[in-house]
């Protein structure tokens, strides 16, 4: 989240889409209820089903699963057409005025400029700003009709490849927002195609209802009023699509357009679906990041210098403006990280052991792991608290992949489907005998049996204590990892190997190496000084070995060590900030500055400088977050300013300090996104219709689908005409609460929610068994005949949507007693992924529905 | 069933057979239990009755079973006596002579058969109230089994049961009074089965004559 859970209570307007917080985040949802109760805030819910969240909404719109960009694009179009935008904010805090270079083409035909059909990728060099100065008020010559930019000449043998395109340091800009190639005009043109009629064709939302929602949501900016704030709240209903990243982008753009980012009660707010998934992504539980969202090195990065040069952005902005470009400090983050990893073995001479880092040469994301296992190249898997068989997508493919693996280590608190893949329903006795995979089951500790910190959606790191020890032979995760590591290290010591150095030189500074204390790890992550360091401005000194006070202290010369720069400041010499439990909230905004610690630097609302006008005065005096104090010549406030504290407003330093432009990006240039600088509506990979905007390019052109025999896809012509989405319920949590009598009592059986009309067509009554089939598998459960999902008219065609919860599988209380069909939901889902975040398209694929 | 009355060797008349007496006392004793426990549930002032009868909870458990026993005995009596309890012409005259009967001016009361109209009313009263108590009683025994949509049955049961019970109490009071205080010999007839000729002649003249005739014709 850019904001936080409690901050939601400060909002005036909520758009909840691609998420169902009442059911999946009931405790966090209380803040949305608080906003309604105490501020008469309005709530708009857009979802393929009328959920329990929708039951508290002021306005509910049923949408076809996967049509979110069309809806949000329609809102952008509406906001611009009806002048319900934050003009000053738009002009000064976003790249609306930046001029894009010639050669850039919008995707009226579904393709941006630079598409290579053979490789399914884009040459993004035209997705860039024009170099130049102030073009405000200058007449623009009529543009020549678009000619595709010439492809860059291929490198001659022996010649270094041409330097990749870069952002120009001085960006041409038109502060009148009139230049036809300025971002604002391009944005306007892009979404001019997203008329209410088009929105209706794509989403199924009747035009008048769409206009009602658009009017309501944008009403906060009527007559240029800047006092109110709107928030957009979403979850995996948005991310689990082949354009999921772009859906979120559209929302971010809408929020920038309306001046909601950085505002209390505003922002773009992801509801993370697990108590520590935010911590997992912060600490790089993903293949293409290093902790703190540093980009991973690739084989093309010859050395540390080359790597750092590639990933460190340089500022790119209109000349008169200032850009903090905080990622320019990347070298400090990288070096400090390397020092944390390799300690004394990382020296200036050896590039701080840069060579020890693995170089990521391709996509190693989740579906790729299983795909490679299926193909036989991945021989074994450690699955720690991760039920891969149930997660899918394409559960059967994952089961078959495990059958081919040599070994599987499952760390879990109970026997799950992954550790029992070998006796999944449908596996014959003969097959079982032929499965050679060795399965190791390590009993692990449950959440109440571990201490450590968890990072929530609001970016708060909160320490928890152990409530009780693990039972029997169960062990703590860190003990298991430590003991595997120590044994591996010993083997390397004894037997050598191709390149043992990274293992042998990995720091392992724990008092008991076999039982690392998580508090020690937390301190390591915060980082410490490796030499005496003094801050020239304040003359404060941090001595060698002391915990660093914050990431401003990080250095690129090897005198600091830090496991994750964004967590720097979480465990200082003053103590474990993440253990604080101060309940004071003097501003009443729900900031609670002394409760736990949020990254970065305990800032609760990101980009909060944007909550003030150009002079540094809050847009809404009732919700003062930060402001410029003229007398003290610095930014102060109830929240920690997410900004350079002493930069006066007149210097026009952009609030979006993590962007090289210093401003919010309506247009995302160059390589940041794989599929376009603006989001474009593409159909889900399995869709009932052709894309009304460009039927010849229905889907996201850079989406790669996996191509083994197990990767099958269905079309309406094959009889798959019903749109299916999967989701979670309040009463169960993923795949493990089916082992808990309490949850099983509340939701005892799997079910499939189908519209009353579909049930009538099929002659099916509620609680009768039905089966849902996709190109990949079949799911059997009882029908839940409901009025909460209505049939829709999609581009003139009647389309049914159904939904099913994912919680039941083939191992659990009811499953063990054979009280249900024992089919996992993800037998149905497709192996096709978002090209930026690699998330599979779990929400919006085609199925057929029949009596069982 | 036919009346089995006959002249006995000892000169008395058999009025009630062994089986009839058994039925009666089964019914009577179960009724008394029902009455006592029922009164305990009827009035907080009498709740102590259930307590002394083994506890209130067990009283509630046994009351319906005693009810079933009572109803079984009553149905048994119906099979045995219904034919003898049909209304005849004499009954209408008897009702007109009721004030004389009450004032013990029995010479002014018409001659009647084995049962006078009052006794017949008692029989039918207990029979019909028994049915009403059975049906309402079963509903009160398992109130939760009656679906919420049919709850009007519970509400009916809750008023029918005490009303029918009160009617039986009235009949019972009169029955006990008549049998124990007013018609000497009546109790003996229901315990040992026989009555004297004088008793029969006094209170059930037509029946007396019938029995004598039959015994004479048998000789």
């Amino acid at each position: 989240m850019t904001n936080g859970w409690i901050d939601i209570k400060n909002t005036d307007m909520m758009l909840i889409m691609g998420g169902n917080p009442a059911e999946n985040h009931p405790c966090g949802f209380k803040w949305a209820i608080e906003a309604k109760r105490n501020r008469n805030a309005k709530m708009i819910v857009v979802d393929p089903r009328f959920t329990r969240t929708a039951s508290t909404a002021d306005l509910f719109l049923q949408i076809r699963a996967g049509a979110d960009i069309a809806f949000l694009g329609g809102l952008i179009n509406y906001a611009i057409a009806n002048d319900r935008i934050a003009k000053d904010y738009l002009l000064n805090y976003t790249n609306a005025a930046f001029v894009v270079k010639e050669g850039f083409k919008l995707p009226e035909d579904g393709l941006y400029s630079g598409f290579d059909p053979a490789a399914h990728t884009y040459d993004k060099s035209t997705w860039n700003y024009e170099e130049g100065g102030d073009l405000t008020g200058k007449a623009v010559a009529a543009e020549a009709p678009h000619k595709p930019a010439p492809a860059p000449a291929p490198a001659k043998p022996g010649q270094a490849p041409p330097a990749p395109p870069a952002l120009p340091p001085n960006v041409a800009h038109d502060l009148g927002l009139q230049h036809p190639r300025c971002v604002f005009q391009l944005l306007k043109k892009q979404y001019s195609r997203y008329t209410p009629e088009m929105v209706e064709r794509i989403t199924g939302i009747p035009k008048d209802q769409f206009l009602k929602a658009a009017d309501l949501f944008t009403s906060i900016r009527k007559n240029g009023d800047m006092k109110k704030a709107a928030t957009i709240i979403y979850a995996v209903g948005w991310t689990q699509h082949t354009y999921g990243t772009q859906i979120i982008r559209t929302a971010a753009m809408l929020q920038l357009l309306m001046g909601n980012v950085g505002r209390s009660g505003g922002g773009v707010n992801a509801l993370r679906g697990h108590s520590n998934i935010q911590g997992a992504t912060d600490m790089a539980g993903i293949f293409d990041n290093l902790p703190g969202y540093l980009k991973v090195p690739t084989p093309a990065d010859a050395d540390l210098a080359a790597y750092v040069k590639r990933i460190t952005p340089t500022s790119s902005k209109p000349g008169p403006w200032d850009s903090f470009n905080y990622w320019s400090n990347t070298p400090k983050f990288v070096t400090s990280f390397l020092k944390a990893m390799y300690g004394d073995a990382a020296t200036k001479q050896n590039g701080f052991a840069f060579d020890y880092l693995p170089k990521v040469d391709r996509n190693y994301s989740w579906t790729q792991i299983w795909d490679q296992m299926y193909r036989g190249t991945v021989k074994g898997l450690f699955a720690f608290g991760m039920n891969g068989v149930m997660i899918g997508p394409d559960t059967q493919k994952n089961i078959d992949a495990l059958k081919k693996a040599e070994w599987l280590v499952v760390g879990e608190i109970y026997p799950d489907e992954t550790s029992e893949f070998w006796r999944a329903p449908g596996t014959s006795a003969d097959e079982m005998r032929n499965i050679k995979t060795t399965v190791y089951r390590l009993p692990c500790a449950g959440f109440a049996e571990k201490d450590g910190s968890m990072t929530n959606s609001a970016r708060w790191l909160q320490w928890k204590n152990t409530a009780l020890p693990p039972p029997g032979d169960a062990r703590l995760d860190q003990d298991i990892i430590a003991q595997i590591f120590l044994r591996v290290r010993d083997l390397y010591k004894k037997d050598g190997g191709k390149f043992p150095d990274p293992i042998l030189n990995l720091t392992w500074p724990y008092i008991d190496p076999r039982h690392p204390a998580l508090s020690d790890v937390a301190k390591e992550i915060n980082g410490k000084a490796l030499a005496d360091l003094t801050d020239p401005a304040t003359q404060v000194t941090t001595k060698t070995g002391q915990q660093l006070p914050g990431f401003a202290w990080l250095k690129d010369d090897g005198t600091t060590s830090c496991g994750n720069w964004i967590y720097c400041g979480s465990w200082t010499e003053a103590g474990a900030q993440i253990q604080r439990r101060g309940t004071e909230d003097p501003s009443g905004l729900g900031i609670y500055p002394n409760w736990a610690w949020s990254w970065p630097a305990n800032r609760r609302v990101l980009y909060n400088r944007a909550s003030c006008d150009l002079d540094g005065k809050p847009w809404d005096p009732q919700r003062r977050q930060v402001w410029w104090n003229e007398a003290a010549q610095k930014w102060v406030g109830n929240d920690v300013p997410d900004f350079k504290p002493d930069s006066p407003p007149k210097d026009h330093l952009g609030p979006f300090i993590m962007n090289p432009e210093g401003v919010g990006r309506l247009f995302v240039p160059l390589g940041a996104l794989a599929d376009g600088p603006f989001p474009e509506h593409y159909e889900p990979f399995e869709s009932p219709i052709a894309n009304p905007l460009h039927p010849n390019q229905s889907n996201n052109p850079v989406v790669k689908k996996l191509t083994t025999a197990a990767d099958k896809f269905g079309t309406p012509a094959d009889g798959f005409t019903v749109v299916c989405t999967t989701y979670r319920l309040t009463e169960q949590y993923h795949y493990w609460t089916k082992n808990n009598p309490m949850n099983v009592q509340l939701i005892p059986e799997p079910f499939i929610e189908i519209p009353v009309e579909l049930a009538d067509d099929m002659g099916v009554r509620g609680t009768e068994k039905i089966k849902v089939t996709s190109a990949r598998g079949t799911y059997v459960a009882k029908a839940f005949v409901t009025r909460r999902i209505k049939p829709m008219m999609i581009d003139g065609k009647k389309v049914y949507q159904i939904g099913l919860p994912i919680h039941q599988g083939f191992r659990g209380i009811a499953e063990d007693e054979e009280r249900n069909a024992r089919t996992p939901a993800n037998l149905l889902s497709p192996t096709v992924i978002d090209p930026n975040a690699y998330t599979p398209e779990f929400k919006g694929f085609l199925v057929k529905v029949e009596k069982a | 069933m036919k009346d089995e009355a006959r002249l006995l060797p000892n000169g008395r008349i058999l009025r009630y057979t062994f089986v009839e007496r058994l039925m009666h006392w089964l019914s009577a004793l179960s009724y008394v239990y029902l009455l006592l426990t029922g009164l305990a549930f009827w009035s907080p002032w009498l709740f102590w009755i259930a307590v002394v009868l083994g506890g209130a909870t067990i009283s509630r458990e046994l009351h319906p079973w005693a009810g079933l026993l009572f109803v079984a005995a009553t149905f048994w009596m119906y099979r045995t006596w219904a034919d003898q309890m049909r209304e005849t012409e004499v009954d209408k005259e008897w009702w007109r002579a009721l004030p004389h009967y009450i004032r013990n001016e029995d010479e002014l009361v018409p001659k009647i058969g084995k049962y006078n109209a009052g006794q017949k009313s008692l029989f039918w009263g207990f029979f019909w109230c028994g049915i009403a108590l059975l049906v309402s009683g079963v509903i009160l025994w398992f109130p939760q089994q009656v679906p919420w949509s049919l709850r009007f049955l519970r509400y009916l049961a809750v008023i029918v049961h005490p009303v029918a019970a009160l009617l039986t109490i009235a009949l019972f009071m009169i029955h006990l009074y008549m049998g124990l205080a007013i018609e000497g010999g009546a109790l003996h007839s229901m315990v040992r089965g026989d009555v004297s000729k004088a008793w029969a002649r006094a209170f059930h003249r037509l029946w007396y004559e019938k029995v004598l005739n039959e015994s004479t014709s048998r000789k």
Binding site: K30, R37, T51, P741, F751 | T57, V158, A170, M173, W199
Partner: protein
Amino acid sequence: MSQATTEIRRISGHAGSVPGEGFSRDYDVCKLIDTTTCIGCKACEVACLEWNGYSFTETTFDNSYQTMPETQWNYWNLIKFNEHEREDGSMQLLMRKDQCMHCEEPGCLAACPADGAIVQYANGIVDFQQDQCIGCGYCITGCPFNIPKFSPTARKVFKCTLCNDRVTQGLEPACIKSCPTGCLHFGSKTDMKELAENRAAQLREHSGFANAGVYDPAGVGGTHVIYVLHDATNPEAYGGLPKNPTIPLTVRLWKMPLKWLGNFAIVGGLVGLAVHYLRYGTKTEEVEEPPEQAEQGAKR
């Protein structure tokens, strides 16, 4: 709360006066359930089970998120779900927490014949005392909300206690504590009523629910569990909440007029019989006969 709130106001099946009658109303407690902010998460169902020590049971799917069709003797608190279409065609998913309403004039207590089996405290809580319960189930008939439920194993009747054991220790009921959205509130009747009316007014003014209102039915003298409903003119839509609940007519007839009549009749009857005996005495077998009749009788 002070000891005074555990004073008893009414006792079922009790002969004589009740200590504590005629107390002050300031002690009334009230649970406010705002159905407009309920998200049907069932935390309250689980909290009630756990506080009262009941184990989880096997249930079946019945075309609804609802855990089971009705409350049970060991499941006192149930969210009822209703997919309701409004007149303008828009959808509502109405979710109402169903449990004992703790009526000011409780039908269960009125119908109960067992001395002390049902107690109404000064603070309005109506509590079953299973030690005194005889398991007759009259309370089941007396309740207009279908709440008391019979346990076939314990052979007694059970229902929500409004966490009397917690309230007397100054704690809020378990369900209140567990509610994540703050849809449940607990406090004095006066305060909760005010909160509810304000919320209903807010709904009418700001959320387009013209019929929003508070459910505090006068037919049972008001209740110590009140609801804010989006549409107070249609409580039936909320999982069958009765529109005009009262103690059933026949229960009232039985307990009041019939009882007086019946007692009067019994006593009157006994007195009448005694008087008759005094006056007329017993019958004799020596029945004087008019001469003609005797001869006629002998001939026959």
